[in-house]
């Protein structure tokens, strides 16, 4: 478990990082390293063997959280733990705050970054799940300039995202829901605390004054090659009062969306059943919170 040989550059600006990535030869595998919580173990096992490593840890301004005009913008290099403890995230993105507590352990969250988790794109990861649930916009930079990708479409297959090898993710922007009474729910099951979820479920609801649901976002992780929204369920529940019966009925639409797989820790059938259980719980949690 010793990494293969690689070159290392510590970039002092995003532009410098992008130049370094662009300058690498076409056959060369180049990689940004942020918190290193995923990449470094993969390199130690030689499952990843970049010949060039561009460290973005020292770039001023790449970490930080801003809340402007109904959007919370989180710099790619922001540590997961910093996001979890941020007052802006807690008050305006409570769903993300809840989800972050399930990302690894405080020790890994102190190093791991929001951007690293998004670009890594594990189908069971919590941050990508919330990004999909809340329609986050993800901004990446290369020597060719900046572009913004919607979260929908950003996650392609397991560990493959829309970020190209010469791009650096700079920011994730999460829209804040303002209308009505907002509630959130996040549930997951993992073999042990801190493990990647076997299945994770995220829900956010808005209720109007008389308790009618005006908006709902529901998404699942761990049951498809990428985090998935359950649009039919969202449609079915909008306009209801989120009665238990309505929720249970709407959960039937989960099956059509998910494509769970077997792995060492759980069967596909398990994932399918548990997806509904957890999403049901997440929606109820969100409803109860909104009503409270």
């Amino acid at each position: 478990m010793k990494a293969a040989e690689f070159d290392y550059i510590r970039a002092d600006s995003v532009a410098a990082a992008c130049e370094a990535l662009a300058a690498a030869g076409p056959g060369e595998e180049r990689k940004i390293v942020a918190g290193g919580q995923t990449l470094v173990p993969l390199m130690a096992m030689r499952l990843a063997r970049p010949s060039l490593l561009v460290d973005i840890d020292g770039i001023p301004g790449l970490a930080g959280i801003d809340s402007v005009d109904g959007v919370v913008a989180i710099g790619a290099m922001t540590r997961q733990r910093a996001a979890e403890l941020s007052p802006a995230v807690r008050s305006e993105l409570p769903l993300l705050a809840k989800a972050l507590r399930f990302v690894g352990h405080p020790q890994t969250r102190n190093r791991g970054t929001v951007g690293g988790s998004l670009v890594h794109g594990d189908p069971a990861a919590e941050i990508p799940l919330v990004a999909v649930a809340l329609d986050a916009a993800l901004e990446a930079e290369s020597t060719g300039g900046r572009r913004v990708c919607p979260a929908d479409g950003f996650f392609e297959t397991p560990m493959v995202t829309a970020v190209a090898p010469d791009e650096c993710l700079v920011e994730a922007r999460f829209p804040v829901w303002n209308a009505g009474r907002i509630g959130t729910g996040f549930r997951e099951v993992a073999s042990r605390q801190g493990d990647f979820a076997i299945v994770a479920a995220a829900a956010q609801v808005a209720l109007d004054g008389d308790g009618t649901c005006t908006r709902v976002a529901a998404a699942l992780g761990g049951v498809a090659p990428r985090p998935v929204r359950i649009a039919a369920l969202e449609d079915a529940l909008t306009g209801t009062r989120l009665e238990d019966r309505a929720i249970d009925a709407a959960l039937a639409s989960v099956e059509a969306v998910i494509e769970p797989d077997d792995d060492l820790h759980a069967t596909a059938a398990y994932r399918g059943r548990v997806a509904k259980v957890l999403l049901g719980r997440a929606i109820r949690e969100a409803r109860d919170e909104a009503l409270a």
Binding site: V189, Q193, H265, Y270, V277
Partner: protein, 802 residues
């Protein structure tokens, strides 16, 4: 409350373990901390195939890689060394450190690369080209009994390594007169001890002095003997340093193949060579997996719950290279009927080989799977008869006045008060409120359960069971020794001859020596002699150090004490019987002013020959070597009856769990354990063993599994897939002691290194099954993964709605 400590000054008193200081300060000295000039590093080339013929190995590119000194293959090594030790009589199963001609499991080491650093060695290892022809593998445990399963060792003729049938007591009669029988299956998954420190070894050959120096993270009997046999050099040409700290083991630190690789290379290259396993080496290729067992059991019992007899078949999948692993089918014969009054037992023990990593001894040497098997049956009987599980145990437990109690296999249990420990544990768990808590949780729609396991921890390591599985292993001597001296200033040094992997032997010896000599244990130096400077040790397996080394320490100290009394008597001008000794002073009974101090006697012994009683040897040094105590040291009789381990500790475990019915997730919310290991030497060490053992057992019950797919591919080679419980998964543990001293040891001590682990898997399984009882589900396969539990719940609920 226990009655311990009443008469002791240091023993049983809460005192810091002396080893803690160096570990907490980060000053332990582990194998990887040891470096010698010119040392080279090994990386390994591992087979990606479960079973394959090796057509060729081309190392030419690797040899050109920077800093590389050598690439060793199995062909060369097997030509130059003898095969490694197998416990069974299987001469056609040849085990070499590197694969010869064929690989037998995914991860098996095929070549070893030596370079200036581990980085360079790994770079070069990637360049070794091995041409494999993959073959179908032998994987599923029951299929290994079939004559047409792919042969792991074709020369052996089948995948069955040993199959032995034993019958102790009137089995058929007991079955005939019992009112009920119950048959069940229990499956113990392939887990192990997975220490923080992987195995590491450094070998250096000195061609001038003709000595091989070995520093290793080792915990194994007969280590230097096995090295000598493999390399064909005299045992006294090998020096194993026993002062290397071992970072966890509980049986698995047995890197004989690693040692032979480095020792061979050190001799061949004339350079010190070290091999430190990384986690991948350790998990896939280190031959460090534990038992993997399938039990088929039938119990015979009466309507009142009296269990009379058991018929048992155990199949153990020992992987590709058996080593000592299969003997783990033998040790549980020591306590094959648990703490219960069965009058007969039939045992069929089958060891099979497969295309999986080799098996090593793991904490308890097969006893934990066996206890799980027994306790599963006892719970099933309770469920069948509708008798409370605690009550059923009470009816079957051996009672305190019945000791010594001889079980059908011929072993006598030394002492115990099982009911008292069970009662104490029920009190500790506050059982009535625990039941109320469970029932309230159930009423609220949860699945909740209370577990119970009452089980034994045999201690002392009288391994004559080996003979039951392999008649050729006619070994009946299992000794430990202690050398003790008092120097001219009166300072005490005790010398032991084994490594320590967390058991706190220095504390053990200092405490016992301090007690016997009435000296402050902190003033007593304890050292680890190397293998040339002391008698061989059986190594700290089977909780044998407290029992055998502890008794040897007592004996050496008592000899010192009587010699000092003799010198005192001579110098005080009285008979020995008139001299009394108290905390450092020797005086004439009734005349305390006529006295000599400890240091004065030490001075006389070392410097004043003229003041010694005639015929007394100068100086103060005594030695004790002890065989395992009790009626040991004999071969089994013609009925295969035999006294095995001498001492029997006991525990009662009562965990409380809740299960999320929607996800199958088990949470262990409470854990009470009562334990009796006779006289406790150091309470912190015993509690550490109990809690650590529980954690280990909870891992085996719910999380840990070295999984293979059906083709034999290894799936759990890192901590992402081999799930160790962390502190989040381990509840706060409440414990209570009880003390029934052993009549067989110097201070009444028994073993305590395994107990938590020997009962926790059974207890957790019992709790899960209690939680599932309202659904009429009973599971008996470990680990109980959340998805299996959920699937069972789902199936039952679907059945019920249909």
């Amino acid at each position: 409350m226990s009655d311990r400590g009443a008469n002791y000054r240091y023993v049983s008193r809460k005192r810091r373990a002396r080893e803690d200081r160096r570990f907490i300060a980060g000053k332990g000295r582990f194998a990887a901390d040891i470096a010698v000039p010119g040392m080279k590093h090994v990386a390994l080339v591992a087979s990606p195939h479960p079973r394959a013929r090796i057509r060729s190995i081309d190392a030419s590119r690797a040899l050109e890689s920077p800093g590389v000194h050598s690439v060793l293959t199995g062909d060369e090594l097997s030509a130059e060394t003898a095969p490694l030790f197998n416990g069974l009589d299987i001469p056609n199963v040849k085990w070499f450190p590197l694969a010869v001609g064929m690989t037998r499991y995914a991860g098996e080491w095929v070549a070893a690369v030596v370079a200036d650093s581990r980085y360079l060695a790994e770079d070069a290892a990637e360049l070794v080209e091995v041409d494999y022809k993959p073959l179908p593998a032998a994987v599923e445990i029951e299929s290994l009994l079939d004559s047409d399963s792919p042969p792991v060792h074709p020369e052996h003729g089948s995948n069955v390594l040993v199959r032995k049938n034993f019958e102790w007591g009137p089995v058929e009669e007991d079955f005939a007169r019992s009112e009920h029988t119950l048959a069940y299956r229990a499956r113990w998954g392939r887990s192990s001890t997975v220490p923080i420190e992987t195995f590491g070894v450094l070998s250096r050959w000195d061609p001038i002095r003709e000595i091989l120096d070995v520093w290793a993270s080792i915990q194994m009997p007969n280590y230097q003997e096995q090295i000598a046999n493999a390399l064909g050099i005299p045992t006294n040409a090998i020096r194993v340093y026993n002062d290397v700290d071992v970072g966890g083991s509980y049986g698995v630190k047995r890197g004989i193949k690693h040692t032979v690789i480095t020792a061979y290379l050190a001799r061949k290259l004339g350079m010190p060579v070290r091999l430190i396993e990384d986690r991948l080496d350790n998990m896939s290729g280190g031959d460090a997996h534990g038992p993997d067992r399938l039990f088929d059991v039938t119990l015979a019992f009466d309507g009142d719950g009296t269990i009379r007899s058991m018929k048992l078949r155990a199949i153990d999948d020992v992987g590709a290279y058996p080593g000592r692993g299969p003997l783990q089918l033998g040790k549980p014969i020591t306590a094959l009927v648990g703490p219960y009054r069965l009058s007969s037992v039939a045992y069929e023990a089958i060891s099979v080989t497969s295309n999986k990593t080799g098996q090593v001894p793991v904490r308890g040497f097969g006893q934990s799977p066996t206890n799980f098997m027994i306790e599963t049956g006892v719970d099933l009987v309770a469920r069948r008869l509708g008798i409370d599980r605690m009550e059923l145990r009470r009816r079957n437990l051996i009672e305190s006045h019945e000791f010594p109690w001889r079980i059908p296999t011929g072993t006598e249990y030394d002492s115990g008060d099982y009911r008292a420990v069970l009662d104490k544990t029920l009190d500790l768990a506050d059982y009535d409120s625990l039941v109320a808590r469970r029932d309230a949780a159930r009423a609220a729609g949860k699945l909740a359960g209370i577990g119970i396991a009452t089980c034994l921890e045999p201690g002392g390591g009288n391994n004559i069971f080996e003979q039951l599985l392999n008649e050729k292993l006619e070994i009946t001597t299992f000794v430990e020794s202690c050398l003790m001296r008092v120097d001219m200033h009166g300072n005490v040094t005790a010398v032991m001859s084994t490594t320590t992997s967390g058991q706190g032997h220095e504390t053990l010896i200092a405490t016992i020596a301090g007690e016997e000599l009435e000296r402050d244990p902190d003033s007593i130096r304890v050292t680890h002699a190397d293998s040339l400077e002391a008698l061989p040790t059986r190594s700290p397996v089977a909780s044998r150090m407290a029992i055998v080394l502890g008794s040897a320490t007592s004996e050496a100290a008592r000899k010192i004490r009587s010699k000092m009394i003799k010198i005192a008597a001579h110098n005080l001008g009285v008979g020995e019987d008139r001299v009394e000794y108290q905390t450092g002073t020797f005086f004439v009974r009734g005349e305390p002013a006529r006295k000599l101090e400890w240091n004065e006697i030490a001075g006389i012994a070392h410097r004043q020959f003229h003041r010694l009683p005639p015929g007394t040897d100068p100086c103060l040094q005594e030695f004790s070597v002890l065989q395992v105590p009790g009626a040991s040291g004999q071969l089994p009789n013609e009925k295969k009856e035999i006294q095995l381990y001498p001492c029997f500790s006991f525990q009662a475990h009562i965990p409380y769990v809740e299960i999320d019915p929607g996800t199958g997730k088990v949470e262990v919310l409470d854990y009470a354990i009562g334990h009796d290991c006779g006289t406790v030497i150091n309470p912190d060490i015993v509690r550490g063993m109990i809690v650590g053992g529980l954690a280990h057992g909870i891992g085996a019950a719910l999380y840990e599994k070295f999984a293979y797919d059906e083709d034999g591919q290894f799936l759990a080679g890192s901590f992402v897939d081999y799930l160790l419980p962390s502190s989040h998964e381990i509840p706060m543990v409440k414990d209570v002691e009880h003390c029934t001293p052993s009549p067989k040891t110097s201070l009444g001590q028994k073993g305590s290194g395994e107990g938590g682990y020997l009962g926790a898997p059974a207890a957790i399984a019992s709790a899960v099954n209690d939680a599932l009882a309202p659904l009429d589900i009973s599971l008996a396969e470990l680990p109980m993964r959340l998805c299996d539990i959920e699937a069972a719940i789902h199936e039952k609920r679907t059945e019920r709605t249909e």
